[in-house]
Symmetry: C2
Subunit: 345 residues, 2 copies
DNA sequence: TTGTAGGCGTTATCAA
DNA sequence: TTGATAACGCCTACAA
C-alpha cells in the first residue's frame, strides 16, 4: 500500500513548480512550455497520479456522469439498451451509473434522489410498473437536469424521448394472426397506465376492427405478464372449455406460460391455437414451437437515448424543442402462429 | 427551472444561521437545539435542498460508492449477482457503479481507472476472458482500495473472494452422465487461464478417472463456449461419424448449439447422445429436451461479495486475513441426459 | 510561461 | 448551542 492520494501538489512539490502549472500541464493547457508539460506528465505517471474526479467535478460543476434508471437488468430489451448506451459513452469521458428499480416506485424515487445527490449531468429513464405519477421526474427536470425517457415514458413530461412503436408492432402481429386464419384472438395485457401496454392494446383493437372482428372486454386479460399468470390464464381457458383461436400477449413471458399450459393439456399450437408474444426474449426462438414475437432493437434505442442526452447536456436546454425518436419493431414469425405452414426457416 | 443549486449557505442565509449550524442540524449532530434542527430541516425541505454528494465525498475522503466490474450484463449468473449486491447496498448509503467489459481486457483496465478516479470506496470484480494479467487490479489494491473478486478470480491476488465450486459441479454432472450409462464423454471448455474453465475441466477429468474412464486430448474441445461454436463442433462430430456418448459443456450456450445441431441431424438426445451444460441459463429449461445444467446461485454470491466488501471498507484492512467463500452449485437434471428415463418432473 | 489566490459545497476543529 | 475558519483536490482568473 503506497499512495492512496497523490495530488497535483505532491507533483508540484517534487518538481518545484506550482500546483496550477501542474494542472495546466496535465490538461494540455495551451500556453505551457513543452518541456514542463512532458516533465509533469512523466512525473505524474511515475507517481501513479490519478486525478480526483470528485474534486474536478465539484470545481467544474459537472461530473461527466450519466444516470440510467431501468426496471430490470435481466430483460433482453433493457440489457441491450444499456449495452447500446455504453457504446456511445465509452469513447467519451462519460460514465454510466445504473439503477435497477425492480418495478418499484419507491425504489425509482430513491434512485432519482441518489443520482441528483451525486450530481449526474443527466438521466436516462424507463419507468417502473409501480410508477403512476411523475412528480419525482418533473422535480429533477425543474432543477435543470436533462432527462431522456425511453420505452416506458410519461407522455405529459416535456423531455426527449426514444420510443418503440408498440401500436404498429401490435397491429402487425394481430394482422398476421388474422391472416393465418385465426379469428377469435384474445390479448394478454398489462397495467394501462404504462404506455407500452395501452399502445399494444390499441394496436390490437385497431387490427381487429380493421378486419371486421369484434373485441369484447372478456377477450382482454389485464395483468397477465408473467409466466405464472400466462399459465394460469391458459389453464382457465382450457378448463372452461372456452378456447380462443389465438392469443396475442404483450409479454413473451406470459405467452410462454400459455404455450406450456397448452402443451401439458395436449392442445396443439399452432394448429388448435396460435400464440404470439412481444419483445423477442431469447427463449422465444427455442421453445417448441418457437414463439412469434416482436424484436425491439434495444441496442439502437439505447444508443439514441445516450446521444440525445449527451447532446442536451452539452448544448444545454438552449433548444427548448424536445425530440421524440420512434423505432419500428420487427415482426418475427415463428411456428407458434404458423397455422398455414409458413414456418420460420 | 428554479434552483439547480441550493446549498447550506442559502439555507443559513435565510435563517440567519451559520452554514456549520445548518450542516450539523441536517446531519443530526448530537449537540444542537431541537428547535433549530427542526427549523433547518423543514426549511431545507421547502427549498428542495439536496446535499452535494461530490462535496461531501471530497471533504470526507469517502464517496459511498462501490464499483462493480463484470464481463456481461446479459448473463443469468451476472444479472442475478448484481441484483444480489443491490439487495445488500440499497438499505445502506452505498451506490453501485456498474461497468461492463464485454470480455475485453482494455475495457476492464479503463473501467478500473475510471472507478479509481471517481474514488469509489471499493471494487467488486469478475474478470473478462481477455484478462491474462492482473497488474491493473494489483495496482488499485496497492492504492489501498478494497477489492473483492467473485466467480472469475485471480488466484495470485490477495483479496477476499466469493467462488463457485466449479470443480465439484463438473464432477457431479460428469458422474451423473456416467451413471446414466454414457461412457465416452467429451468436454467443451474455455480459456484455461480462467479458473472457471480450468476447474470444470479438472472436475470432469477426475470424475472420469474415478470411474475408470479414459480421457484423451481429442475429447477436450477448447474455446467452444458459444452457440455457434457448439453447433460447429457437433456438426463436425456428426460428419466425421465419430460421435461420443455424451457432451458435458462448460457453457449452456455451446450445449444449446450442440443440441440444435443434433436435432437437425436427427440424432436423438438423450438416447443416442447426452448433453449437459453449465450455469442454468433460463433457456435450458425450455428447449426440447430440457438441458441438464448447474445452477450457481448468482444472487447469493452477489450478496456475499457486497457484504464482504462493505465489511472491508468499514473495518479497513485492519484484518489482513482474506476470506474465500465458496458456493456449491446445484445439479439440475433434465431430459437431455436422462437416458434411463429419470425425467425432470 | 508560470505563480498567486480564491472558491466549488461540505464537514471538522477550535473558539466563543 | 452556535459561529468562524480551514481544508478536501482541483481549476481558473488575474497578476507577474
Amino acid at each position: 500500500m503506497q499512495n492512496r492520494n497523490v495530488t497535483i501538489h505532491h507533483i508540484a512539490a517534487r518538481l518545484n513548480l506550482s500546483a496550477s502549472t501542474v494542472s495546466r500541464a496535465l490538461n494540455d493547457y495551451y500556453r505551457i512550455s513543452k518541456a514542463t508539460r512532458e516533465l509533469v506528465k512523466t512525473t505524474a505517471a511515475e507517481m501513479n497520479y490519478k486525478p480526483n474526479q470528485l474534486a474536478t467535478s465539484l470545481r467544474k460543476g459537472k461530473g461527466n456522469m450519466i444516470g440510467v434508471i431501468i426496471p430490470r437488468l435481466d430483460r433482453h430489451f433493457f440489457s441491450h439498451a444499456i449495452a447500446g448506451m455504453e457504446t456511445i459513452t465509452s469513447p467519451t469521458d462519460y460514465n454510466i451509473l445504473i439503477c435497477q428499480t425492480n418495478e418499484d416506485y419507491e425504489s425509482e424515487k430513491q434512485s432519482i434522489i441518489a443520482l441528483a445527490k451525486n450530481r449526474v449531468d443527466g438521466i436516462i429513464i424507463s419507468v417502473s410498473t409501480g410508477t403512476k405519477q411523475y412528480d419525482h421526474i418533473q422535480s429533477i427536470i425543474n432543477e435543470g437536469i436533462p432527462v431522456v425517457m425511453f420505452d416506458r415514458i410519461a407522455p405529459v413530461l416535456n423531455v426527449d424521448k426514444v420510443l418503440n412503436d408498440n401500436y404498429t408492432g401490435a397491429y402487425e402481429v394481430t394482422t398476421h394472426l388474422i391472416d393465418q386464419g385465426y379469428r377469435k384472438i384474445v390479448h394478454f395485457s398489462g397495467p394501462q397506465h404504462l404506455n407500452v401496454y395501452s399502445e399494444r392494446l390499441a394496436g390490437y383493437k385497431k387490427a381487429m376492427s380493421d378486419n371486421g372482428l369484434d373485441v369484447n372486454e372478456e377477450m382482454i386479460f389485464n395483468d397477465v405478464l408473467t409466466r405464472a399468470k400466462g399459465e394460469e390464464a391458459a389453464n382457465t381457458m382450457v378448463s372452461s372449455g372456452n378456447l380462443p383461436d389465438a392469443i396475442f400477449s404483450a409479454s413473451d413471458f406470459s405467452a410462454l406460460g400459455a404455450l406450456l399450459a397448452f402443451r401439458q393439456n395436449n392442445i396443439a399450437v399452432p394448429n388448435k391455437i396460435g400464440v404470439a408474444g412481444y419483445a423477442n426474449e431469447p427463449f422465444t426462438e427455442l421453445t417448441e414451437p418457437g414463439i412469434t414475437s416482436l424484436e425491439q432493437f434495444g441496442g439502437e434505442i439505447g444508443k439514441s437515448a445516450a446521444r440525445l442526452l449527451i447532446e442536451r447536456i452539452e448544448n444545454g436546454a438552449k433548444d427548448e424543442v424536445m425530440q421524440t425518436i420512434t423505432f419500428r419493431p420487427r415482426l418475427i414469425i415463428r411456428s407458434s402462429t404458423s397455422k398455414k405452414g409458413i414456418m420460420e426457416k
